[in-house]
């Protein structure tokens, strides 16, 4: 069957790459921060619009890539998140003295990698996409190389991520040795000891990127040390894209649905939820706290992976949207408060004491984000968590249900702590948290916060859209 219009489906990817090349050439010609940012934003926006226009009625395929409902959804999320990061990066980098334009180049490359990753149906494209996504992140995390924290974050991520990649590759090689194929459908053909070992090793590699529990140790350090936009990208598109590809593997490759593996995944999910939330309990650094919180959230998401039904895909979609919007809002507020101060980022909770009395709207946005991450009704997070619970109850996985509930209960404590700090009367040191910025930036964060509320109060359109995607 001739694949219908694969070229057009590749359009968004091509646009992002074109924007990257343009930024690259622009840097070679003359450094202009705002122009680079504009090219990036226009490129991402164009790709987003094109992706929206591509409502694939039936999926297009190439040997390496598949464009179906799942990849359509994920691509939209990737492009939207990257757009938000790009917009906020401009403010953030204005206060930066070193070269600024390359940041956009790296951002675009990472977005391109994520686009490939979410559409891959072949180990080669999986590997290529993952590395194209991770490699720019090393650079972005260590971007403020004058700061030892940023360097440390970059180094830790580089070494451990490379180790993770090695695990992934070795696992792929073993799978390949067993089946002689590299595409997902070909992998389905055979089971055997090598295949199982390979699957396990691949899971280690992917689990590392998702910070599943025994492989989660890097997360808080990297979140804390990296520049906020880089962390934001790491928390959003990197995790989303890896999760989507893992979901595709579980759905399409029988070895990933092996009973023992599934039980193991369920165990890891429980461990991840509990440990992630416990670690965050008395955290005093907001970025670290968000890191721990993202560990816990991917624990919840693993539930969808373990169950792996049609409804699980929808659930994962709902949860990913709600997680992304809330996370971007939270990091957006951190970015806006960090950007104008050149020396230190507004990372410690002390910076946020009494924020409501100085920047009420930003404090409100952060409150909304925290409420959503905690899963309070009438925010997006509640809808996501409700779907996860409904899924687990429906599948009668009571241990998972119990863990989700226990994790959420622990989570409430530290999310509430952040909120309380925002409304305390005595402002710590008003000069430290940045004052004023462009109104546009505040607007972006507020729109995101509004989206969190809208998704929580009126989730029907988003849910219906997800349910209508053909997968």
């Amino acid at each position: 069957m001739p694949a219908p219009l694969p070229l057009l489906s590749l359009g968004p990817f091509a646009l992002v790459c074109a924007a990257a090349v343009t930024v690259l050439l622009g840097i070679a010609w003359q450094r202009m921060h705002t122009v680079s940012a504009l090219v990036t934003i226009v490129g991402l926006l164009g790709a987003l619009v094109l992706q929206l226009a591509l409502q694939t009625p039936d999926s297009a395929e190439t040997p390496l890539l598949v464009f179906d409902g799942l990849s359509h959804f994920a691509a939209l999320m990737v492009l939207g998140s990257s757009l938000v990061v790009a917009l906020l990066s401009h403010t953030y980098l204005r206060g930066y003295t070193g070269p600024r334009e390359e940041f956009y180049l790296l951002l675009l490359c990472a977005a391109a990698g994520a686009l490939i990753l979410v559409a891959s149906q072949h180990l080669a494209s999986l590997f290529f996409g993952l590395e194209l996504l991770s490699m720019p992140l090393y650079g972005m995390l260590a971007y403020r190389f004058q700061s030892s924290h940023s360097l440390e974050a970059g180094l830790k991520y580089l070494i451990l991520s490379a180790a993770g990649s090695a695990f992934l590759l070795f696992g792929m090689a073993l799978l390949y040795a067993q089946t002689g194929a590299l595409d997902f459908t070909g992998l389905a053909s055979e089971m055997g000891p090598w295949a199982l070992a390979g699957t396990g090793l691949m899971l280690v590699g992917l689990g590392f990127k998702l910070s599943i529990v025994p492989f989660h140790l890097w997360t808080p350090d990297v979140y804390q040390g990296g520049p906020v936009p880089a962390t934001m990208l790491l928390a959003s598109i990197s995790k989303l894209a890896v999760f989507v590809v893992l979901l595709r593997l579980v759905l399409e490759v029988p070895t990933f649905r092996d009973e023992a593996l599934s039980a193991l995944l369920a165990g890891l999910a429980i461990l991840t939820m509990i440990v992630g939330n416990l670690l965050a309990l008395r955290q005093s650094d907001l970025k670290r706290l968000l890191g721990y919180s993202s560990i816990a959230h991917f624990g919840y998401l693993l539930v969808a992976l373990v169950i792996g039904s049609r409804f699980a895909v929808e659930t994962a979609g709902v949860y990913l949207i709600t997680y992304l919007v809330a996370t971007l809002t939270a990091f957006g507020v951190v970015t806006l408060l960090s950007s104008p101060c050149r020396t230190e980022e507004a990372s410690n909770l002390e910076h946020y004491r009494g924020l409501f009395w100085r920047r009420p709207w930003l404090a409100a946005a952060l409150t909304v984000a925290m409420l959503s991450l905690a899963g309070i009704p009438f925010t997006a997070g509640f809808i996501g968590k409700f779907y996860i619970l409904a899924l687990a109850v429906d599948a009668q996985r009571w241990w998972l249900v119990a863990a989700v509930i226990a994790g959420s209960a622990i989570g409430l404590y530290y999310y509430l702590r952040v909120m309380v700090a925002l409304f305390l009367r005595e402002a710590a040191d008003a000069s430290r948290a940045g004052r004023g910025g462009h109104w546009l930036n505040d607007t972006i964060v507020l729109v995101l916060a509004l989206l969190v509320i809208v998704l929580g109060v009126w989730p029907a359109p988003a849910v219906d859209w997800l349910a209508g995607l053909n997968y």
Binding site: G164, L196, G200, P214, L217, Y413
Partner: protein
Amino acid sequence: MMEMTVSLLPLTFLLPLAGTLLLAFSAGRLGERGAVWIGTGSVGLAALVTALVGADFALGNAGPQTLTLYTWIAVGEFAPSIGLRLDALSLTMLSVITGVGFLIHWFAGWYMRGEEGITRFYAYMNLFVFSMILLVLGDNLLLLFLGWEGVGLCSYLLIGYYYQNAANGAAAMKAFIVTRIGDVFLAVGLFLLFTQFGTLDIAELVTRATQAWSAGEPLAQLAALLILGGALGKSAQLPLHTWLADAMAGPTPVSALIHAATMVTAGVYLIARMHGIFELAPAVLYLVGMIGAVTLLMAGFAALAQTDIKRVLAYSTMSQIGYMFLALGVGAYSAGVFHLVTHAFFKALLFLAAGAVIVCCRHEQDIRRLGGLRRRLPLAYLSFVVGGAALAALPLVTAGFYSKDEILWQALAAEQQGLLIAGLLGSLLTGLYTLRLIVGIFHGEPKSKAAENAQPGRGPQHSVPLLVLAVLSTLLGAWLRPDLSAVFPAAPGADAHAGHTAVQLIASATAIIGILLGAWLFLTQGPKLARLAAEGAGAFFWRWWHRAFGFDGLYDRVLVRPFLGLVQSLRRDWLDAFCGLAGQLALVLHAGLSRSQNGQLRHYAIATVVGATLMVVILARA
């Protein structure tokens, strides 16, 4: 066209909500003028929308209907939806809330001038209007309960508005806790109804209940009793009435809006809305009437012996709501709601006028230290006279007369002579305490510097709301009688006519006697009365009534102190320790796990490798 105006209905509560949010997030940057404009404007616009919808409704362009706004989430059978019920009852309530609410908000701009935290004041007030509208518009009990709790919260916040004074905080807490006792009953009632019928949609619920239960069914009695519990708490009826007098600690516009015109009548609305359930429980319905009668007498006597203007008005509110309960109890729902409307007009007027007096006399609100203000504050005097006349049901010219007369007549028609006599006696008391209040404030000689130097309020913010409400308290207000025949079953007196004229005559006579007696007593016999109240049996009754029959002391001794003692003794028991254990465990685990985050790259690598090895081993063994 009609579709359009009805679809505007959500705006009535969205506008006040928007006002709340704007005010809350302005963080005081709006200034006084801005806060007043936003706070008043949002409610004014809501009133405008209500007027539009109401006009369409009255013209018959839009019939009673339910607007399903949306379904929240639909997962399996769990699909809670939010709908608004538009009918004569909800529209009547809506008009009162937005209309009277708007006037009070407007007046508050004058009353609160120069106060600290006026943004906070308007944010709470708008939030209150939002919750109250949700309460009356919700088509299901869940939404109603949400609004119910919302108004309770706002009431708490506004009673404690002057939080620097600890007594106000205590009053707020008292109001919150006492009404909360009622709320618990209501919540249990809702659970009961939900387990029985599997729905909280009011119309659906009542239909299913009438099919499943016959009149007098024990479960129906229980459900009605539980709902009644909620209504008693919110409407300050016996035995949950003790909070209302203390609630006067809030700013006077708050007392006018929340503790006179709207929130305290929510109980009446609830019973009227759920009348289908109460019809199935005749005994409970009878109890409603009895409680109303006892409360109206009790509060009438208590009002006679108060010295604080606002406390007199508070007890009179309690008493008037007693009339409404009485009406509900005899099945005359329409009469009860009619009295609710007229009461909202004249009591809001009285409270605002009291507010005017209080501000003009530099926050002096003790009757014994006022007096002689007739000439200095003519507008307040006029308002008090008009409002007082309506309260005392002066025949023919006041709104209060028509609604109260209707209630008494229905009591007779329902052959509840006991209730009728209580109502008549109450009307005598009303005349007495109204006159005592007016004479004490406006006649005689000024009894303090503050009263001597009173300066009248100026400006439209002060006078227009008073004048509008004064007009509404007269005969003209009675013309606004809502036609509720489509919502309620026919009242007992619908077909009978015998004795109607007699009741009217007797009621008129009682009211006039009360007023004349009061005028004679308080205008000419002041010193004698004071002597009477100071010694012997007179002193005993004075003190007894002043303390409103000593319910506070009783509750304090029987309930509050034993409960506190119990709590004190249970403070450190094993159950508490057990509950704390989970938290302790979490902290210990947190401390342990945090040690793994030691920042050492090599340790992280080792952990990864160990994890990977374990995983492969587990997979290999399986």
